[in-house]
Subunit: 459 residues, 2 copies
Amino acid sequence: MKLREIYQDKEKYLNQDISLEGWIKTARTGKNISFISLTDGSSFKPLQVVLDQDTKMDDQVKLNISSSLKVQGRLVESQGKGQDVELKAESLEILGESDPSYPLQKKRHSAEYLRTIAHLRPRANLFQAVFRVRSLLAFAVHKFFQERGFVYAQTPLITGSDAEGAGEMFRVTTLDLKDVPRKEDGSVDYSKDFFNKETHLTVSGQLQAEVFALAFRDVYTFGPTFRAENSNTQRHAAEFWMIEPEMAFADLQVNMDVAEAMVKYIITYVLDHAPDEMAFFNEFVDKGLLDRLHNVVDNDFERISYTEAVDLLKKSGQKFDYPVEWGIDLQTEHERYLTEKIFKRPVFVTDYPKEIKAFYMRENDDKKTVAAMDLLVPGVGEIIGGSQREERYHILKKKIEDNGLNMKDYEWYLDLRKYGTAVHSGYGLGFERAVMYVTGVSNIRDVTAFPRTVGHAEF
Amino acid sequence: MKLREIYQDKEKYLNQDISLEGWIKTARTGKNISFISLTDGSSFKPLQVVLDQDTKMDDQVKLNISSSLKVQGRLVESQGKGQDVELKAESLEILGESDPSYPLQKKRHSAEYLRTIAHLRPRANLFQAVFRVRSLLAFAVHKFFQERGFVYAQTPLITGSDAEGAGEMFRVTTLDLKDVPRKEDGSVDYSKDFFNKETHLTVSGQLQAEVFALAFRDVYTFGPTFRAENSNTQRHAAEFWMIEPEMAFADLQVNMDVAEAMVKYIITYVLDHAPDEMAFFNEFVDKGLLDRLHNVVDNDFERISYTEAVDLLKKSGQKFDYPVEWGIDLQTEHERYLTEKIFKRPVFVTDYPKEIKAFYMRENDDKKTVAAMDLLVPGVGEIIGGSQREERYHILKKKIEDNGLNMKDYEWYLDLRKYGTAVHSGYGLGFERAVMYVTGVSNIRDVTAFPRTVGHAEF
């Protein structure tokens, strides 16, 4: 049986004979009695297994860390501290002896070192907690949207056009780089490539999600996106997952309502379904984590305009590295000051200057700002960016022209405004950033199974 | 409010004043009375809106197909056939008039034509049904595994090694194709590429999922995979989604048990949650669909060995294009004959000759076959392929050598057998094929939002 089944219903299995497979997390060997901390990975909490003279096992048995084994015995109330049940082993059999060179011995390892053994680190406590919480968060996202009737749209990753007109992209090709075909004028002949044209990995599924929103009303994407940016920070990866809801007949207020409800929902889900993991993060990763998350769940998010935010920052008297003036893009220092110092809770900032935002955002009546919204949270800064989309055909067309985008690439996008256009809105949540926020883990490489960053594509 | 809310609780809204936004699916205009079939995309079933002389609206209002509008009125029991409630409109306002050039007029269009307007086809009935069912199926997959405690592992798409040693791959690069950097010997200098080495798009997350199974016991992936194969069939796409569960301490029998339970679960979920859409497929796409799906849900799947399958096919007297002999890879004609003619239900075929299967599959004691399993279903043939994995270090190492794979790429994979190896198994389900199977739609391009196939990467 599985460890998780035992912990789901301890009463049922207490004083029963059970059989478990798993791996040795730690072992203490004594003359008459030995203890194994056993896990099968199905539960964050291991089970103490007690071996004594009566336990049937090989005389020469070695209890190496990470060896796999099968143990049969009786589940009893524990005599020791720190656990409520333990297994009194009647027999034990090693299934796969772990080589003594196993690198994850009991001592502490640096995060950098653990990344070099990304194929083994999921066995360490921190990563057991991180990847289980990541899984639960992903499910909570789906559950939130599905319960509200949103349609999950799986938008393409290989794209023939640059979706946002922003962000450096990876090329996808089957051309032979040793002998790239050329046209007569010397340029690369992409008609010989797999898709008969230039293709890249997408930076966003938003524009395609809009197609679905104008057919299904409420939709969301949840899939990988890519940035070929040479930025070696704790928060950037070349490959990451994004959640992009998009809603027709929904303005910026509805957009914020849904974003706020979603953030609260997924945090609550994880607090409910992974209490041991969350307690672990709170103890070993980020002391204030649980307080901060409860604060998010229990309070209304603040909503202020960019113009108000700029006023508050200027009035604060705080000295910023990057001076605040109306028109600047808010930096992380400004965002964190707003959410951590001024409001002490999550804040939506809305209606940014149009010059610093994307072409598809809806122009406000003042013609200076657009109906954009960013959600800032304590400890991180921006975690969600969204907007009401420009639904007016002629204004959007002019924006595409003014931004120097290739009109041919956007004809289908304009069609959405030509055939029954509707007010619509959406936002993007970087999934790894959400995982970082909820776990307190500060490096994106440590919430990603096999991180892809500049110079790194191992495993 | 949303249409889906009305259909979820008609009693509640009957004889109430409500307000709805949506699009015109069809309109019949009369002198005194007009009818609109209205949808907002939140429900497959439209709502009939009745306009008469009392309805407040613009005198010159045009009821173009796909125009968006807002209508306010009373929900009443319908006088007409085919619907039980209708909206008696008190006022109507066109929000976004659809241009008369709207290509999805009421007549039938070819599947080929609709693919050229993939940004509008989600508004057509067939695609309303397909993409909602696709969304529900995706959620059912997550729900099935999460309820059983499986951890969702998001494995990388950009890979530095060829995961299966099979399937042509797309290159991912940031090198300038007009000026590819070279090493002194003339070969391409990939140390100048983004990841400092050659990278491709993955063909499978299985090997990485094994990492997670040996840490969390039960895990699954659900993400995009890629094949740069020049195959222009109804069943092949260059980009598609795969589900790959992987379980430690699980042999081939458990693997089949889980696969069978999953297939039944996701079909049942869709039958329960999309009865209107499923009735539509049964009527307009595939007359025998519902019978076939109920047959799958209600019966145990057959389980036979490859050797038995070959015997049955040879004894059948059936003339096949491709003759049957022990050692051949079963073709679709053989698979379909087994599941449709001989057993009339889904069949697991196990223990294939090792020569025709992948290096990582566990060798049986007969040394001729491996512990593989394929699930064959009526109407399609193979829908799931899986195996018990080779967990014995030395046998796996020799297989890697014998297959001419680069040992350095697989050291981490071998480590899983060195540090506490365990019997483990898993399988792969192509998600689009599952959608095709459940909807009866026969072309993968018509269950994919924006299909990527040879020569096609539009939108």
